[in-house]
Symmetry: C2
Subunit: 417 residues, 2 copies
């Protein structure tokens, strides 16, 4: 097999074409291909229309070697991908007995006994093909082989629902794809905060120009991530990513909060677990968002005792003991109020740490003195209270999101001290 097989992605579904759902599958698959070292040059969305789908597949066969298709493997009349792909590849459909049995088994497991004849359609697979059983649904996937001139072209058919597609890809398609190429990539992801992407690029510019391992910015919402990638011919080849990582750390180490795949709330959770300490949050403008981010991940219950969304000033007074004179004198969006909120929160929940967030997220409530985007953070802990002011641009959603992220980070900074 050659190492330079070109890939592309075709997503099938009228609901995508009408914009009723966002095409997260294409981005997810593109990212996985890139991590496997396989280049992809096109993504296409086409509806449940046999003629147009066949045209798209033919075009892709003409210009790419591996074509990933998602969607249209279900039981309804609109689900045509398997039939159209088989027809374009010149392969007949044939009942695949293990898939038929798996479908029967699936329905028995979920307690549905009326299986319509449509469901058996999903066991009609191209002959020959590599069948990929579906551990999360009824539609099996398939890998078909066809020829285009002197090239071998593979069609990799995956289901549309992301929960089925991602598992089938990782467990079955990815190992097959990896076997198609001699390229192996080692990746290290470096997550930074408190530095902009362009400032990081400037600090690392000569490293970014190096060839192996490569260092490249990796777009990620609300944070700066760089990816170190080493291409190796075999797993025995010495790892050069570590030397690059050390150099990156030497230059921008104070901004690195994670080498790996964890998000900021997961890093904070793990630091607290390691110290066997607890946390609580007092949120004003973020209105529960910071706590919601922490509880997005399992294991939050080991460190989070609770949080107070103190939206009204009365709540800040009564439950967090922020003095009314302080609120009148300095306002709720002030360093002193943030500090008192964090301290009151720490007492209220009896936690080792407490994080407070108070600010103006907009669209109303700004002033010359405290424009929209002004946010005060405070973290109260065993050694006292630290505060931080943010002044951010962007809309309400962005201000809230970045405030929550920076609040987690302020706690993280205390935890790694």
């Amino acid at each position: 097999m050659t190492t330079n097989r070109k890939a592309e992605i075709i997503c099938v579904g009228t609901e995508l074409l009408l914009g009723q759902i966002v095409n997260t599958n294409a981005a997810w698959l593109a990212r996985e291909l890139s991590l496997l070292g396989i280049h992809s040059y096109y993504q296409t969305v086409v509806g449940d229309n046999p003629g147009r789908l066949a045209d798209c597949i033919r075009q892709a066969i003409g210009r790419s070697d591996i074509i990933l298709l998602t969607g249209g493997l279900g039981p309804t009349q609109d689900d045509i991908t398997m039939a159209v792909a088989s027809s374009v590849a010149g392969l007949p459909l044939k009942l695949h007995e293990p898939s038929r049995a798996a479908i029967a088994d699936y329905f028995q497991r979920i307690g549905r006994f009326q299986v319509t004849s449509n469901n058996w359609k999903q066991a009609m697979l191209p002959d020959p093909c590599i069948v990929m059983p579906n551990s999360n649904g009824t539609a099996p996937g398939a890998i078909l082989e066809t020829r285009q001139g002197d090239r071998t072209v593979h069609l990799v058919l995956l289901p549309g629902p992301p929960s089925e597609m991602t598992v089938m890809f990782r467990d079955q398609a990815a190992p097959w794809l990896q076997a198609q190429t001699t390229a192996r990539l080692r990746h290290v992801f470096v997550h930074m905060i408190g530095i902009g992407e362009s400032a990081a690029e400037t600090a690392l510019s000569d490293l970014i120009e190096r060839q192996s391992p490569t260092l490249a910015p990796y777009a990620s919402e609300g944070e700066v991530v760089f990816r170190i990638t080493q291409a190796v011919a075999s797993d025995d080849e010495p790892d050069t990513t570590q030397a690059m990582l050390d150099e990156v750390k030497r230059r921008v180490g104070q901004h690195i909060y994670e080498v790996g795949m964890r998000t900021m709330p997961e890093v904070v959770r793990d630091l607290l677990i390691a110290k066997n300490q607890t946390v609580s949050y007092a949120e004003s403008c973020t209105g529960g968002l910071a706590t919601g981010q922490l509880t997005d991940f399992p294991g939050a219950s080991r460190v989070l005792k609770g949080s107070l969304v103190a939206y009204a000033n009365g709540i800040k007074q009564e439950l967090l003991n922020v003095p009314v004179e302080l609120l009148e004198r300095e306002g709720a969006v002030s360093e002193a109020c943030a500090a008192r909120m964090a301290e009151g929160c720490r007492r209220l929940f009896s936690t080792d740490w407490a994080v407070a967030i108070t600010g103006i997220a907009g669209p109303d409530g700004g002033s010359d003195d405290k424009p929209i985007g002004t946010v005060w953070l405070a973290v109260s802990g065993p050694d006292g209270t630290v505060t931080q002011q943010l002044r951010q641009g962007g809309n309400r959603a962005r201000i809230r999101k970045v405030s929550a992220l920076k609040a987690h980070d302020l706690l993280r900074q205390q935890l790694v001290k």
Copy 2:
């Protein structure tokens, strides 16, 4: 102009091709086209490569009449869309003086005085074209006209950043597109809860088969939305959507929570504002998510006094006065605990209403008796406390999201009584 111009969408950018960002632009534009009554049959993503981009544009010109392109209008060397589209359309680039002045003005406004020569590239526009000034950035958009056989084909070039693209499309491209077609559509969106999509389709099946106005399911995450659409030749034509809406209401009215575009938290907020009442939340498994949803929208401060994330049982006891015997006897995920949480929350925050959510979101913590997905909701108000049990499938994220939605809905039901 004919009424049946076919459209397609091309999104340009290597970051899309690498899966570094999800292509929300394609879904957004597809939805807008559909609301304008314009059919689109393909979406393509291609990288910042002149040859491949030109191929994609040529192919689109061969099969569509209106081609929307996003991305690649910026100042860098990788931004090639304007130049490639002009070249394919056979139009020269020429300095567009008002755009040059707008760019200079933009930089002055944001206080940046070092404008690189690249920035002026963005004022080089096809001649002739319709220029669409960019109110949120420096890159103007453009509408180019070219011929394909006896067809007139238009290329509509929009910037890639969604904040720039959506405003330019709504303010400038959409009115132009509307003028391209004699079709006018009247839309009414009907949001339902407490009924599955297939049950709703069954109840409305004969209406769905009618031709004008049409009734169709409108995919929307976590809720059921139907769209009533009337095609009219002029604005004077009588409105028939209301009669259809009345019939939909007659059949499934008890499930309709919104006729329009508001989300569930916005509906709840507006009901509370109208009654001049306040609310607080006591969240366990949702960990701040329900409050976070309410505070996503401006105006939440008029109705929300605060919320307690009572993650640890100790917090439920101490701050919400849930008796320790009750927790020991029935567990935190129980009807009695939910009711006590809501009542304790209402007292703690002195609000008219309080909403409590306690459940098992997984991936751990389930039992035979209380499997993952078991959630108890309670709403305490002036007339007492109501409770509701949920048993949901899906993963942690889905269980949390649906629990928050249903909790808002339980409050809504009390508010409309």
